[in-house]
């Protein structure tokens, strides 16, 4: 259940974002391994999918624990070594399943929201 703060009105967009964020993170690393800050950038640039950038770290940590992503440390020219994330086969399967589910869900909501008549 999403955590609710007293007085916070339920913004449906916030809940939608929470629901899809994990798989969007998986999708970003689908083509090539990425580091956390890069993932945050891509998601923000796509259209404000991340409001609190710091929450990406607990999410990535959980994805690691659940075996959906693997990580490698790599040197970087511009500072300390970075941790790069990539999908495991389990992560790939989870993403593929979500892509299908999302397409169905999106079409269903669009159909209902579409003006009638």
């Amino acid at each position: 259940m999403p955590r609710m703060v007293a007085g916070e009105t339920r913004d449906p967009t916030t809940e939608l974002r929470r629901g899809v964020l994990e798989h969007c993170v998986l999708a970003v690393m689908r083509k090539k391994e990425s580091y956390a800050y890069e993932i945050v950038r891509v998601l923000s640039d796509a259209g404000g999918l991340v409001t609190s950038e710091g929450t990406i770290y607990p999410l990535l940590s959980r994805l690691r624990r659940d075996g959906l992503v693997d990580t490698t440390w790599r040197e970087s020219e511009t500072g300390p070594p970075r941790r790069y994330y990539r999908l495991t086969s389990q992560g790939q399967r989870s993403l593929d399943a979500f892509v299908e589910d999302w397409a169905r869900f999106r079409d269903a909501v669009d159909a209902v929201l579409a003006p009638r008549g």
């Binding site: 956390a36 950038e53 770290y57 940590s61």
Partner: protein
């Protein structure tokens, strides 16, 4: 909620690297830029809350059986409770047969458990260790040398009284 020491330092490092990367990208680190970066980072409570938001969350960075998290509540799991119990019971144990042995054994096992804890921070472990060692040292200092000093040649150790050992206990004098 309390994060395990390992995960807490890992998360802090991740956030620090994030801020550094953001400032590098911005090309400057004046106060306004830093504030913007921190604002985008989001409230710390949200980040910490996101750590515990999933069922089967283990509070450690290393993979662990998911059943572990269910047993730890705000820094007190089975390991921690047992450690503290042993350390507290070490004192009354002195009055049992083999009391001193139990006292030392409980103390050692208790401290081993304290350091084996994956939930307590190093600082808490150090504090506990120092307290335990200090109390043990105090107890040993208070009992052993006092009785040893007052034993006459060949007599058993006994507590000191002013003026030396009681003449009643040493009929040979």
């Amino acid at each position: 909620m309390v994060l395990a020491a390992d995960r807490r330092s890992e998360l802090m490092a991740e956030v620090r690297d994030h801020v550094d990367a953001a400032l590098t990208e911005a090309g400057r680190s004046d106060e306004a830029t830093v504030r913007n970066v921190l604002e985008r980072l989001g409230p710390p409570e949200d980040i910490v809350a996101a750590e515990g938001g999933q069922p089967g969350t283990t509070l450690d960075a290393a993979p662990a059986p998911s059943g572990r998290a269910a047993g730890t509540v705000a820094g007190w799991g089975a390991v921690e409770v047992t450690a503290v119990a042993l350390l507290c019971l070490a004192w009354p144990a002195l009055f049992l047969p083999f009391g001193f042995f139990l006292f030392v054994a409980f103390g050692i096992i208790g401290l081993v458990l304290v350091w084996a804890s994956r939930v307590w921070t190093t600082r808490r472990k150090l504090t506990a260790t120092i307290c335990v060692v200090a109390l043990y040292a105090l107890l040993i200092m208070l009992t052993t040398p006092v009785s040893m000093k007052c034993s006459t040649g060949g007599g058993p150790p006994e507590p000191c009284t002013p003026g030396g050992p009681s003449p009643i206990v040493n009929p040979t004098q």
